[in-house]
Symmetry: C2
Amino acid sequence: MNTKLVELKEILAEIDDLQNAAGLLGWDQQTYMPPGGAESRGYQLGTLQKLAHVKFTSNEIGKLLDQLEPVARGLPPDSDDARLIKVTHRDYQKKIKIPPEMVVELARVTTQAFQVWQEARAENNFSMFLPYLEKIVDLRRRYAELFAPYEHIYDPLLDDFEPGLKTSEVKVMFNTLRPQQVALIRAISERPQVDFSFLNQPFEEQKQWNFGVAIITNFGYNWEHGRLDKTTHPFTISFGIDDVRITTRINPNYFSTGILGTMHETGHALYEMGIDPTFSRTPLARGASLALHESQSRMWENLVGRSMPFWIYYYPRLKEVFPDQLKGIELEEFYKGINKVEPSFVRVEADEATYNLHIMLRLELEIELIEGKIEVKDLPEIWNARMEDYLGVTPPNDTLGALQDVHWSEGMIGYFSTYALGNLISTQLWERINIDLPDLLTQISQGKFSSLLNWLRENIYRHGAKFEPQELVQRVTGSKIDSAPYMRYLQKKYSDIYGF
Amino acid sequence: MNTKLVELKEILAEIDDLQNAAGLLGWDQQTYMPPGGAESRGYQLGTLQKLAHVKFTSNEIGKLLDQLEPVARGLPPDSDDARLIKVTHRDYQKKIKIPPEMVVELARVTTQAFQVWQEARAENNFSMFLPYLEKIVDLRRRYAELFAPYEHIYDPLLDDFEPGLKTSEVKVMFNTLRPQQVALIRAISERPQVDFSFLNQPFEEQKQWNFGVAIITNFGYNWEHGRLDKTTHPFTISFGIDDVRITTRINPNYFSTGILGTMHETGHALYEMGIDPTFSRTPLARGASLALHESQSRMWENLVGRSMPFWIYYYPRLKEVFPDQLKGIELEEFYKGINKVEPSFVRVEADEATYNLHIMLRLELEIELIEGKIEVKDLPEIWNARMEDYLGVTPPNDTLGALQDVHWSEGMIGYFSTYALGNLISTQLWERINIDLPDLLTQISQGKFSSLLNWLRENIYRHGAKFEPQELVQRVTGSKIDSAPYMRYLQKKYSDIYGF
């Protein structure tokens, strides 16, 4: 290998180590850290992130990248090394614009903000969280401004999570999608509601946990390289390809949250676990984008986990675990129940038909906050008013409203739209997979997931961040991100369930 | 404050952040890391430790220390700043001798060695651990050689844990102590053994856990800044003064291991939690030495936790938790039982009379390994032979022999003697405390520990690493580390229990 490339890889490996260490500090904060440890943790995260940032934006990397430019041109454009240089170059160009002090400040503010958010959410006290969120919005706005000129001030934030995508493109997609989704929800609301009352019963927590564990073990989640913990807000995090952890939350009085949430995070984890091990300790050892990542969590949660074939296999098993609760409930009824469409307050528990509207609301609010058109202090009121507009429901409190998501407390403004884009990509891929694996649904109905996992590993997972998201979707499906398959999927699924 | 001192403190703070982050990575490895994550973890620890090392041994720190020398001379010699400069200077002089590659190598080797040791210990398979231990001994020998010339090649290793102490000094202390301890054990063995059969019964794990938690809460362990987890080998670790964690292990078929181990670790934790908060993120934010640290764990475990006054208060409460197991066992009998002296295989479960002999055996083996007088492959055999010599027992397998301790797998050769020194210091302090707090034993018999904790905070804990160990012991007790109080304590305690 070229010696300059070896040098570059050595530095990138150390940066990856620092980022993974910071990741573990964050994981610990959400799982096991005693509450009084937040101040030191903030300093530690600040220092690690600053060091990673300084190392990555050093002249040394800049010079190596310059020297490697002709080398890259001589490599096959799809080769791992050519792509590694390209991705590094792109990241470098973005990150050299960010002053290290801002990295430290964001790390410290968000470490504290996360602690406060947890309390504020538990106590339904938005004003407690307000000063922290104000600081975060201000920091993220100042961050976006570093990248002027831009088409839209929100672009640099979106680009952090979805490389290359523009606010205007997302707006176009969402504007196409919204009226179709609203029409679908209306069509559904005009039909009799399905029965889902059986979901609201006591379901012993440990049994739910065990059932989830059995499912994801069958999906192929590798416990040798992972673990499952409980957190307020479920998430997946990896500290290298050999340590990919997930978390979940379980509602002891409601069935589907825990199981579907566990499957969701497993989708993320399977992606990370499937990355080519030779990408270890490089910037390629991550998903192609957040939307691609979300396409996997949503695929395993929804396209698999809420499907009829899946429950053909698992429903008899579930009945054995909860015989009293599910007595007299037939498979068809159960399937309809866990797929019921009902406008509700909480995004992570939203059904597939209403989910994207939750996302659109957040995207709009974020854009307006960053543009300065609305103020943070007015957020709860505006949130509730728009929930009424879009979904016809008004959250009874901020815990079920503007305080519900963890993302803002962690500084992740620019993130939300990737959830909706992930939904779109998941169905694009699903159409392709069902062509390549014509008996996939039969396999799923027999509790077999290895062909699916192998297809995903081969076509998506192993590539890590080697390809940009639009490019990867194009390679695999033949077209860019497209909302038509998602609408086809929703129409088919819900016209069957609701009979319209 | 002097601007150079401000600069120095800023760099030291970042180094402290890196070390605390590495600490968390280590904690996680011993508590929750999936087994397959060790490779990445090794890289991460290597990078963090290398960065901390490189930062600490930079010319920048060297220059600042030179510039601060006259400043320090102008400060009161006992002032925090003067001591910070002194301690930093001492560390710097030592660390600049160590090549960064050696730091990385040790981190990587020990990360893997720890994983392998866990398996080897579980499977009683020394040969599995052998190649790792060989590497570690070789690395530590090469490390020691960096500090030539020395009085003894083991000195630089000992000095890492016990600043300033020489192998020859420890040998003298141990040579004084050994015949006295051996004579004491002989005197005990000539008396009828006390009854301790009641300790070997099923004691429900969760109840043991809860009882331990209740005790240490009463000691003053602050859960806002700490937590308790289960590990193979119990330990205490802090990631800043505001996050000090302990671990324990509980034997469901034996009473005292869990409770006494939990108290032991709490002693370490109370020390760390009691350090002056203004020392945060400096090299003073740690105990004065490992022996001082151990004096605290042994004090809370033994001088408090195995004392009659302690059980006057707690025994009735324990009987409520385990009424069947303790039926008909009177306080006196219980007290004698948990203080029974019996040569045994496992150091951490050894009684106070035999404990130091376990340490002496380890110290001798370490010295001979580093000197090259014995080979790692012969360790199990030599271990067992010496156990027979010193304690009259032969471990039936290596899990109960040469594989029992975690320390070597973590590269900590040079550490063990601090355990015995800690025993000595604990009784030196105890004599002083009982003069200053004449009603201490009465208070303990009423379940009151706050005067004790306050005395320790005021005289020991708050100072952190401000004073060197011998200096601190001298300040508080009026003499240097001395074995006489420990022998007085053992003689008194066991002549009462065994009646000789």
